[in-house]
Subunit: 240 residues, 2 copies
């Protein structure tokens, strides 16, 4: 039963519509059509350059786009969740629908894509499926401030979760995070670009063990290291 | 030297102006006047009820305010950082000032207090200094969504960091987070209220070991558990 299978887990999850060729990013948080619905919806892909992107971010983006040309890497598109499109199938699959509150949901926005361009989380994730790793290019905007001039640790933790989650989806299907263990080494300057390298270390049944590091663009500064445990959900199971 | 003392740490830190009686919350991220400046500034205290607070949050707030009457508990005020007021003293004390980028700082906002009332992080922290513990009452608004209808795990991680950080400051002085280890048990319904109980477990030199849990208002649902390692900074040291 899903309820027992989701106990010990949490709400960050990931889906990939692998059959469509364009994988669903862990933070898109949108029902995966291939699994749950055939409804089509046109969304803006947020994992593309906008005028707020710094020279560093654009340069790295271009470099990885070149790596995508031979098919070894792929860019993961990223969509906001549309709160008005609530999939009962989806809720039933993942969680006890009775838990979901309707109050306030009309204003709901995906946390990591809810800021105006450049003010919050600007990021794109590239995936290498053969090597079971992802690279997240992340520019933390001025609305993510902690210590004056530096990124809030919660924003770093959020992106670590997103990056690890995207990597956990490589084996396919839906995953949920069960544990995050983060060592913070140095504060990240606000508005700078960091690179989050994530990899799948071990797969034991439905448990996926991952790790990542957060480094400066020149790789000389290690800002954070983290491990994550994700649980693969079984699409054949549901809560009913 | 500060640079060596901050290596292995990160940007979330905490200050308390204990001598003034009104402690500085870990997320205020504003130079503590008692330590660094005598400049006075009037700020809005964000740790007070606003119309977006739910009945649950207001009720708990009132209960804790009553506990404050005999002095055993105190409410921690919470201020936004004013990005235009940059303290060179502060930067020199904490970090290598060369790391701080000026670009984009004019738009800087404290991550956890940068949302409009009710849309993001609504929280208040109460502290029991004798028992070395804090209680954080947190209502996660619709702009913190992860899974549709639920709080993003990054938002939960952020509040865990803030809550643990506030507790770590009880021994006084400034602290920085070195590690966060979070077990996510169940997803938190969006717009619901949770209670984060934090406690100081051990103090070894400058290392502070803390733990917390995130529960529903009726305490029946355990959403998350976490431990944190914080490092107390030595105000006599600086980077020069």
């Amino acid at each position: 039963m899903l309820r027992s299978c989701t106990a010990g887990l949490r709400s960050v999850w990931a889906l990939r519509g692998r059959r469509e060729g364009a994988p669903w990013l862990s933070t898109d948080l949108q029902p995966a059509r291939t699994l749950f619905s055939t409804e089509k919806a046109i969304h803006k892909d947020w994992a593309l350059p906008n005028p707020s992107w710094s020279k560093d971010l654009k340069l790295l983006f271009d470099q990885f786009m070149k790596k995508c040309e031979d098919g070894s890497w792929e860019r993961l598109p990223s969509y906001k969740h549309r709160s008005t499109q609530k999939s009962e199938e989806f809720k039933t699959y993942f969680l006890d629908p009775k838990l979901v509150k309707e109050e306030g949901l009309s204003q709901a926005q995906l946390f990591t894509r809810g800021f105006e361009d450049g003010l919050g989380f600007e990021y794109v994730i590239f995936s290498n499926n053969d090597e079971k790793r992802t690279v997240c290019l992340f520019q933390g905007g001025p609305h993510l401030q902690g210590l004056p001039g530096f990124l809030h640790g919660g924003a770093t933790a959020t992106m670590i979760d997103v990056a690890l989650g995207s990597c956990a989806t490589i084996p396919g299907g839906a995953v949920m995070t069960a544990n995050l263990n983060i060592n913070f080494k140095r504060p990240v300057p606000l508005c700078s670009v960091v690179v989050i390298n994530s990899q799948l270390d071990k797969l034991e049944g439905r448990k996926l063990f991952l790790s990542c590091n957060v480094r400066s663009v020149d790789e000389k500064t290690l800002y954070s290291e983290a491990t994550g445990l994700f649980i693969k959900l079984d699409p054949k199971k549901n809560s009913t």
